[in-house]
Symmetry: C2
Subunit: 219 residues, 2 copies
DNA sequence: ATTTATTTTTAGACTAATCTAAAATTATTT
DNA sequence: AAATAATTTTAGATTAGTCTAAAAATAAAT
């Protein structure tokens, strides 16, 4: 069994890993987990002893197959609980992250599978992030953001790349929730902000900072 | 905020407290939590510093009002999650305790109240234990057990006094689940075992050990 | 190719929770 | 009421996770 802390490190390393680069840096993990680099080094050694990560001093760290399986199952748990909190307990999408952060560590495959079934096998969490299936397969959205659309193009909101409360709150206030249809009416050259219509009517002005974090499916 | 460990001590003290005796002994807490008396003493000091328990050396320990509120809210949480696991995720009554033991420590009043609402404000958990309401009021069953019934008397199963997997499993195998109607057909003087009919037909033989742990409502 | 800056690791200390073994206190017996 | 038994507390060590400050290694800049 692994402690909550160990699981959080695995999750952080998983989140920071990308297919192209091979090692996650100590500093980036420290930043992600709001801790110090020296603490990270200590924990990495422990995870390395447990064969959950591959580690060479000064060369960064990456998950082993075993470590990745654990990380993905935690992500699966997290996202299923988020769906539960929003769909069944009527929480808003900006309220569920911290709770799911705790719930995700309750390790029971049986409970996870039953929860999945109870929720009718959701594919995405309330922020549009894909829920890994029980075999650990994750199907990511294609990475098209609102900022990639040209004038008069349309799309459907399918996710966000930034999960802060303030961003989610803002999106909700202008009806840019999952499933909303958005049409780009105009793009201001100067700052790349957009004026757009949401669901055919609501007119909004969206900064580049905001548009590049909104994942959409082109129509 | 209190750690999981602190919460478990508060819960144990609450469970071991009774209206008539005034202090819970160090040893009984150690027994309940499967730890050593010396560890208990250490933790009690800490809880005492936090004003969660009243403590005088060698004189046993009791909860303060503050400590009791916390203990009851954990019990409330535990029992609500048990209802969730049985009613919504189709777990059996003998499978839910350990999971609820983890879930109970996720402290969010909002989540607890939403869960309560989602479950339609259950009064009892799957073992018939009363769920404290949000103000901390607990309504216990009157303490009548199957062993108190006389020949030809009838009752409804409303709870258990023993929560072991093996006991719960056994009860289920003879249909003695919550709500079952039981009639005492005969009592064997020698060992105080009973033959009884469940729900009007199923004939079972129940040892005194088993009957005295089954809480019933007399009909 | 040195120097400078940045990143990472080590060394040593700290806190929370635990343990063993010994000492102190309370309870029980005779 | 003294002796024995049981319980409880202390003292000192241990483990997990963290931290600061200094040392070591790598990367960047002149």
């Amino acid at each position: 069994m692994n402690s909550f802390t160990e699981e959080n490190y695995l999750k952080a390393i998983f989140k920071l890993s990308s297919p192209d680069t091979d090692g996650v840096s100590t500093n980036s993990i420290a930043e992600e987990l709001q801790t110090k680099a020296s603490s990270v080094t200590d924990m990495i050694k422990k995870l390395s002893d447990k064969k959950l990560v591959k580690y060479k001093k000064y060369q960064g760290v990456s998950l082993t197959k075993k470590g990745k399986i654990i990380a993905i199952s935690i992500v699966r748990n997290h996202r299923l609980w988020e769906v539960f909190l929003v769909e069944k307990l009527n929480f808003k999408w900006d309220e569920v992250h911290d709770l799911a952060e705790d719930l995700e560590h309750i390790n029971s495959e049986k409970m996870t599978e039953r929860l999945d079934e109870f929720l009718e096998f959701p594919k995405y969490d309330p922020h549009g992030d894909p829920i890994p299936d029980k075999n650990g397969n994750v199907y990511n959205h294609k990475d098209v953001t609102l900022a990639d659309l040209k004038q008069n193009e349309k799309g459907i909101v399918v996710g966000v790349k930034e999960h802060s409360k303030s961003y989610l709150n803002y999106l909700e206030s202008i009806n840019l929730v999952l499933g909303a249809e958005i049409k780009v009416d105009d793009i201001i050259d100067f700052d790349r902000s957009m004026s757009a219509s949401v669901n055919g009517k609501k007119l909004v002005n969206v900064s580049h900072q905001a548009s590049k974090n909104l994942i959409i499916k082109k129509l």
